[in-house]
C-alpha cells in the first residue's frame, strides 16, 4: 500500500495494522473487519466505499476511537490506541479527531457559535483562544452572519458547515466524515465538498465514508471494502505535495 503513496516524507498521522472486528449477530458471527491494514498520511483525502455490510462504518468507528478492534493496532499520533481505556479514548477523540456526520448532529439548544465551541469544553488542558477561534471558523465556513441562530433555523447545508467548523475547532490530526453529503441535494453536496477540498489543500487529513461515486471522486484516494477486507485502493488525484503542514493548519 505504501507504494501508492509516493511522497514518503509525509508524516503518517494514523495507521491501522492488521485490525479485525467481529460482531455476534443472532447466534452467528459477522466479520465486520478482517485483518485490515492502511496508513493515512498528512494531507490525505481518502474516500471509503463499499456496499452496506462491507465494514466501512466499523472502520470509521474504529478510526474515530468510538470502538476498539478485537485484534490489531491503531496508531494515532504515535500511540497505539487500540487497547486504551474509555476515558483516554474520549480525550484522544477530543484532542486529535474531528467528526462530521450525515445528519449534522448539532446540539439543538445551542446556538451556531456554541455548537462550534463544544469540543473546546472537553480539552484538557484547554486550548488557547477559544471563542476567537470559533468566530474565525464560522467566518471560514461562511456563517459569520448566523452566529446566534439555532440549528433548526438553518438549512441542511448551513448545518453541515457548522459541523465542519466544529470538527476543525480542536485543530485535529484527522477529520472523519460519515456520509457528509448524504442528507444534502447535489448542489449543496458539491458546496460542502468544495469546502472539504479547500481544507484538504490547506493540509488537512480527511477520511470520508460515502456510497456516492461522484462524491468519492472528489477525494485523492478511494478505498473499496468488501466483506471486511480492502478490495482495491485507487488513486484519483495525486497526493498533496508536501506542505509545511503546521503553517497551513494554523490558517484554519
Amino acid at each position: 500500500m505504501n507504494e501508492l503513496q509516493p511522497t514518503v516524507d509525509r508524516e503518517i498521522v494514523a495507521s491501522i495494522v492488521g485490525v479485525s472486528k467481529v460482531y455476534k449477530l443472532g447466534g452467528h458471527t459477522v466479520r465486520a473487519l478482517d485483518n485490515v491494514s492502511i496508513d493515512f498520511r498528512q494531507g490525505d483525502f481518502v474516500a471509503i466505499m463499499g456496499s452496506s455490510g462491507s465494514g466501512k462504518s466499523t472502520l470509521l468507528n474504529l478510526l474515530g476511537c468510538l470502538d476498539r478492534p478485537d485484534s490489531g493496532q491503531y496508531i494515532l499520533a504515535g500511540r497505539d490506541v487500540a487497547a486504551m481505556d474509555d476515558e483516554t479514548l474520549s480525550r484522544i477523540r477530543g484532542r486529535y479527531l474531528g467528526f462530521i456526520f450525515q445528519s449534522y448532529n448539532l446540539i439543538q439548544q445551542l446556538s451556531v457559535v456554541e455548537n462550534i465551541e463544544v469540543p473546546l469544553s472537553y480539552q484538557r488542558p484547554p486550548l488557547p483562544g477559544g471563542r476567537e477561534r470559533c468566530l474565525k471558523l464560522a467566518e471560514l465556513v461562511g456563517l459569520s452572519g448566523r452566529l446566534g441562530h439555532r440549528p433548526t433555523e438553518l438549512s441542511g447545508g448551513q448545518q453541515q458547515r457548522v459541523a465542519i467548523a466544529r470538527a476543525l475547532v480542536n485543530n485535529p490530526h484527522v477529520i472523519l466524515a460519515d456520509e457528509p453529503t448524504g442528507n444534502l441535494d447535489t448542489a449543496t453536496s458539491h458546496e460542502i465538498m468544495d469546502l472539504l477540498d479547500a481544507l484538504n489543500r490547506a493540509g488537512r487529513t480527511i477520511v470520508m465514508v460515502t456510497h456516492e461515486n461522484d462524491i468519492a471522486e472528489r477525494a485523492r484516494r478511494i478505498v473499496r471494502l468488501r466483506d471486511g477486507r480492502i478490495d482495491t485502493i485507487s488513486e484519483v488525484r495525486p497526493a498533496l505535495p508536501v506542505v509545511s503542514g503546521s503553517i497551513a493548519l494554523e490558517r484554519l
Binding site: 474520549s90 446540539i107 472537553y122
Partner: protein, 441 residues
C-alpha cells in the same frame, strides 16, 4: 468547562421543558418549605414552654397542694369535709430541716370575686409574704408591695395585678381606695407591673396567669378568709381545708436542686398519708422540654424528609426522561471528546440546578411562615370566632420561630437530594455506547 458555565448550560437545557422543570422544582420547594415551617412551629411552641418554665426559676423547687382523688379522700374526710395539702408545719419543717434552701415562700390561693363599685372580676386572692414578689419577679409599678408590717398587723391591704387594677379602676387612681374581696374590704396599696404567664405546674394544664391576681398578706388571708373553703358543686356543698396552696423553695446553687427536691419529697412523705402534694422542679421541666423539643424536631424532620424524598423521586423521574430524550446529544458530546465523568457532571449539574432552585424558592417561602401564620390567625379570629376561642392558648399565641439551622439544613438537604437522585440518571447517560447513542433517533 467551568462549574458556572455548566450550571448555566444546565439551566438552559431545563428551560427547554419549562413546565416539566417547574413541576420538579415544585416538589423540592414544598419539601424545603415544609422543613422550615414545621421546625419554626416546633421551635415556637417549645420556646413558649421554655420561657414559661424559665420564669419559674431554674434554682427553685415548687411544692403544691393537690386535691386527692375521691376514693382516697374518703379516708381523710370527716364531718368537717376533706382536708388535704401542705400544712404550715410542712413549711416550718422544710425551712428548718433542709439546709440547702436559701429562701422558702409560702402561699395560699383562692378564687374570689373582687369588686369596686360596679366593676367586678373573678379574681385570684393570693395570700403571700413580702418575699413572694421578688421570688416571682413581680415588680411594683406604683405604690408598694406587701410588707412585714402588714404581715404582723394582719393589715387589710391589697396589691392589685396590672390587669385587675385596670378593670376595677378604669378611670380612678386605685391607690388608697378600697376593693371588696369576697366579703371583706381591703385598701389598695400597690399595683404590680404587667407580667406574662408562666408555665403550667402541679397538674393544672393552664399556664399560670398573673393578670387576675390580688395579693394580700398571708396572715390576713388566714385570719379573714381562713383555711376552710366552701364550694358548691353539683348541688352539694363541699368543705375543704387547705392550709397552704404552694411553697416555693429556692436553693443557692443549681446543682443542689435535684438533691434538695429529693429531701423535700422524703420529708413530706413521712408526714402525709396520701400524696396530696406535688414537688415540681422547673429545672426538670426544662430538661423534659428540651428532650421533647429534640424528639419533636426529629419527628418533623422525618415528615419533611419524606416530602423531600418524594421531591427527589420527582427529579429522578424527570431526569430519566431527559436522558432518554437527549440520547443523541450524549452521543455527540461523547464523540466530541466528553468523558463519562463529564457527562455525569453535566446531568448532575442539571439536577442540582433543579433542586437548588427548589431549595432557594423553598427558603424564600420559608421566610413567609411568620406572616402566613399571623394571617391565618387573624382570618380565623375574624371569621370563625367560636373556633378561635376553642383553641388552646398555646396555639392561639403561637409565634413561629425560624431556626437558622433549619434553613441551612433544608437547603443543603435539597441539593443533596438533587445529587443523590441525579446520580442514577446521570450514570445511565454516561454509560451509553456512543455509537448507539449517535444512531438514536
Amino acid at each position: 468547562m467551568s462549574l458556572l458555565q455548566q450550571l448555566r448550560l444546565g439551566f438552559r437545557s431545563l428551560m427547554l421543558h419549562k413546565l416539566r422543570s417547574a413541576l420538579a422544582v415544585l416538589g423540592i420547594l414544598i419539601g424545603v418549605t415544609a422543613v422550615i415551617w414545621l421546625v419554626a412551629m416546633g421551635e415556637g411552641v417549645s420556646y413558649q414552654a421554655q420561657q414559661q418554665i424559665k420564669d419559674l426559676g431554674a434554682t427553685s423547687i415548687i411544692i403544691r397542694s393537690i386535691k386527692p382523688s375521691e376514693e382516697s379522700s374518703r379516708d381523710v374526710g370527716s364531718r368537717f369535709g376533706i382536708s388535704y395539702g401542705l400544712l404550715r408545719d410542712d413549711y416550718e419543717r422544710i425551712v428548718t430541716n433542709v439546709p440547702t434552701i436559701s429562701r422558702a415562700v409560702p402561699m395560699r390561693e383562692i378564687s374570689r370575686e373582687v369588686r369596686h363599685r360596679e366593676y367586678a372580676i373573678d379574681g385570684q386572692a393570693i395570700g403571700c409574704t413580702p418575699d413572694y414578689f421578688g421570688m416571682n419577679r413581680l415588680t411594683i409599678a406604683r405604690g408598694r408591695a406587701i410588707s412585714e408590717v402588714d404581715m404582723k398587723g394582719y393589715a387589710n391591704v391589697v396589691v392589685l395585678a396590672w390587669e385587675a387594677a385596670r378593670k376595677l379602676f378604669p378611670i380612678e387612681d386605685p391607690l388608697g381606695r378600697a376593693v371588696q374581696i369576697g366579703t371583706e374590704f381591703y385598701v389598695v396599696v400597690g399595683i404590680a407591673a404587667e407580667r406574662t404567664a408562666a408555665a403550667a405546674i402541679g397538674g393544672s394544664l393552664d399556664a399560670r396567669q398573673y393578670d387576675r391576681d390580688v395579693y394580700i398578706p398571708l396572715s390576713t388571708f388566714r385570719a379573714r378568709i381562713g383555711d376552710r373553703v366552701f364550694t358548691l358543686r353539683a348541688g352539694t356543698t363541699q368543705l375543704e381545708t387547705v392550709e397552704l396552696t404552694q411553697i416555693t423553695a429556692v436553693v443557692e446553687d443549681m446543682k443542689e436542686v435535684d438533691a434538695t427536691a429529693d429531701i423535700i419529697r422524703s420529708l413530706l412523705q413521712r408526714y402525709h398519708k396520701s400524696v396530696d402534694y406535688a414537688v415540681v422542679v422547673p429545672k426538670e421541666l426544662l430538661e423534659q422540654a428540651e428532650t421533647m423539643r429534640a424528639m419533636f424536631n426529629v419527628l418533623l424532620l422525618l415528615i419533611a424528609g419524606i416530602s423531600l424524598l418524594v421531591g427527589g423521586i420527582g427529579i429522578m423521574n424527570i431526569m430519566l426522561a431527559t436522558v432518554t430524550e437527549r440520547t443523541r446529544e450524549i452521543g455527540i458530546r461523547r464523540a466530541l471528546g466528553a468523558t463519562k465523568g463529564e457527562i455525569v457532571r453535566q446531568f448532575l449539574c442539571e439536577t442540582v440546578v433543579l433542586a437548588g432552585t427548589g431549595g432557594l424558592l423553598g427558603v424564600a417561602f420559608g421566610f413567609l411562615c411568620g406572616p402566613t401564620v399571623n394571617g391565618v390567625r387573624m382570618a380565623v379570629g375574624a371569621f370563625l370566632p367560636e373556633v378561635w376561642s376553642a383553641l388552646p392558648p398555646n396555639i392561639r399565641n403561637l409565634e413561629p420561630r425560624l431556626a437558622p439551622w433549619s434553613i441551612i439544613a433544608a437547603f443543603a438537604i435539597s441539593v443533596g437530594v438533587g445529587i443523590l437522585f441525579g446520580i442514577y440518571p446521570a450514570r445511565r447517560a454516561a454509560s451509553m455506547d456512543p455509537i448507539e447513542a449517535l444512531r438514536h433517533e
